[in-house]
């Protein structure tokens, strides 16, 4: 349209400035600090080469953190990607009535702060008197200690995130499902295609870019959201059983005061996310629909 003039640069300047300072500069700082040993407060800072990385990789903690992260991602994908996908298909193609109403109500939990959600679920999970315990007692069962057992704690915390995020992902997926060409589906119906064939050959391909987007935000944001209930409810426990890649970065810096290791974890995490973002971008370039 227009060639960029000198004053045109000014439009980008504020955004570019703050992105550089608070998004790109920190990435650089992490890389540098990951080669040093420092406790954040003292003036003593020592160059240690790559030993932060080698130390991390040699601990058992590193592997349990990776396993926990994978478990979190799996639970989140089931509740915030697979379920919204199925539900939006049901609402868009099986049901005729109530679309708007479901949309509004399913979205409601997304409005809550995760701080509120954490406290609310802490009570819901209360193994002695909480509502889930009350339900289980009707069937004569004892409530497990939702936040104190390994693995179960990951499920319990994922459920808090699932509760908040489900509705948001659901309306994104629903919009994609609704935008699939109606003519195409009608034409396929006339040709005698079954629902299953229509789903596989028309709906899944046509909603794939949205599905990939929802997949990516489920993983990326899910892991970031997880930090909040973990910090409020378990502090990474029991015995680091709910610590994950995103949380240990915080822990090493602000709880253990080992800045170098925190930075090393941050660099490793960032690498994983870069791969993820690159993949998303590649898919986007191919699939996205441009108006111009």
């Amino acid at each position: 349209m227009n060639r960029l003039s000198k004053s045109g640069y000014l439009l980008f300047l504020p955004a570019a400035f703050f992105f550089s300072i608070f998004y790109y500069w920190p990435l650089l700082v992490n890389v540098v600090l990951s080669f040093f040993s420092w406790n954040m407060v003292s003036s003593k800072i020592k160059f240690v080469g790559i030993s932060n990385y080698t130390d991390i990789v040699q601990t058992a903690e590193f592997y349990s953190v990776i396993v926990n992260t994978v478990l979190f991602v799996l639970f989140l994908l089931i509740f915030n990607f697979v379920l919204p996908y199925i539900y939006s298909y049901i609402l868009a193609y099986v049901l005729k009535y109530g679309k708007n109403l479901y949309k509004v109500f399913f979205f409601m939990p997304s409005l809550f702060s995760l701080s509120v959600a954490s406290i609310l679920f802490l009570w819901i999970y209360n193994p002695l008197a909480g509502p889930i315990d009350a339900i289980l007692q009707i069937f004569g069962l004892d409530s497990p200690r939702w936040l104190k057992e390994p693995i179960l704690v990951i499920f319990s915390i994922s459920m808090i995130i699932a509760w908040k995020v489900f509705g948001y992902n659901f309306i994104l997926m629903l919009a994609a499902m609704m935008s699939v060409s109606k003519e195409m589906i009608e034409a396929a119906r006339l040709e005698g295609a079954s629902d299953w064939v229509i789903l596989r050959k028309i709906i899944i391909p046509q909603t794939s870019s949205s599905a990939i987007y929802v997949f990516v935000i489920t993983v990326v944001f899910g892991l970031q959201y997880v930090m909040i209930p973990v910090n409020i409810l378990t502090q990474g426990g029991p015995n680091q059983g709910s610590a994950n890649l995103v949380y240990v970065i915080y822990q090493y810096a602000f709880v253990f005061y080992q800045v170098g290791k925190s930075a090393a974890y941050a660099v490793l995490t960032m690498l994983l996310f870069v791969i993820f973002a690159w993949w998303r971008n590649k898919v986007l370039d191919k699939k996205v629909y441009y108006e111009n």
Binding site: G8, S113, V116, Y213, Y250, M270
Partner: protein
């Protein structure tokens, strides 16, 4: 589409049951905030409080500087929203209005920040804010949140849908870019700008982690930070009070959503879905 009664029925049953599961914690939250502690413990499943009481709310208001927390939260949320909208509007407009080498690269480098996990950034940003002497001030929280990759993406997406001829007419008239943005484009995209603002506001209102690191003294606390103060180590907590504060924390986002739900949902749907 023909209605298949059996399918319709099964579908609705699945959705309604799931919806009840989703909404149950909300109902529970409100009803517990209206119960006294005895009732909370004795009848955790009863959604209707016997003798509903506002005493939890009065106690919370009495014991904690709720108005100050609310004021702090509001100040941070509104300032963050205004700055995010300004930076996103300017950059989003620039990406639509100008064509130049490296445009896509610049655009991607801004939008992809949306996918950088916050926890990777917090320690370096904390050091920076601390060296600027902004720890324990709302400005320390705000400064880091002046830009938003998703905001720029959404703004560009919205402005792209404006017909090119409108831009061309304005340019022929000799209008400057800022004039075009302010007087011609902004009125056209106002609904999207409003709903993006609401989205920013709700997110900033609800934020927990970054304020937690920056704000140390209780007088600076936001509502989301104040809430976890209620839980003591072993959960011997005052649940009624916690639930009352949780309701107070959540009420504003809810009102905003109910007033503008159509706008908000549509913005997500129109713009968010394609990315």
């Amino acid at each position: 589409m023909k209605i298949n009664l059996k399918k319709e029925l099964i579908g609705h049953i699945i959705l309604i049951v799931s919806l009840l599961i989703c909404l149950w914690p909300i109902v529970f939250l409100v009803s517990a905030s209206l119960k006294d502690l005895n009732q909370i413990f004795q009848y955790p499943l009863n959604p209707l409080p016997e003798n509903p009481t506002l005493s939890n709310y009065f106690t919370v208001l009495d014991r904690f500087p709720i108005f100050q927390f609310t004021g702090n939260t509001f100040f941070i949320a509104i300032t963050v929203t205004i700055f995010k909208i300004i930076t996103s509007l300017l950059a989003g407009f620039g990406f639509v209005y100008y064509r130049f080498k490296g445009r896509e690269l610049l655009f991607n480098s801004m939008v992809l920040t949306f996918f950088i996990p916050m926890s990777v950034l917090i320690m370096p940003n904390y050091l920076l804010i601390s060296s600027l002497g902004l720890l324990d001030t709302p400005y320390g929280v705000i400064l880091v949140e002046i830009v938003d990759g998703m905001g720029i993406y959404l703004m560009r997406q919205t402005m792209r849908s404006i017909p090119k001829s409108i831009y061309e007419c304005a340019i022929l008239e000799g209008a400057s870019p800022l004039y075009i943005l302010w007087h011609i484009i902004l009125p056209l995209v106002r609904p999207s700008v409003i709903s993006i603002s609401i989205m920013f506001f709700i997110n900033a209102w609800n934020e927990y982690f970054w304020p937690l690191l920056i704000l140390k003294s209780k007088t600076e606390y936001t509502l989301a930070l104040a809430l976890p103060m209620f839980i003591s180590a072993e959960g011997g907590s005052e649940w009624g009070l916690a639930m009352a504060l949780a309701v107070l924390t959540s009420i504003l986002p809810f009102i905003l959503f109910i007033i503008c739900q159509k706008y908000i949902l549509n913005t997500f749907i129109q713009s968010g879905v394609k990315g």
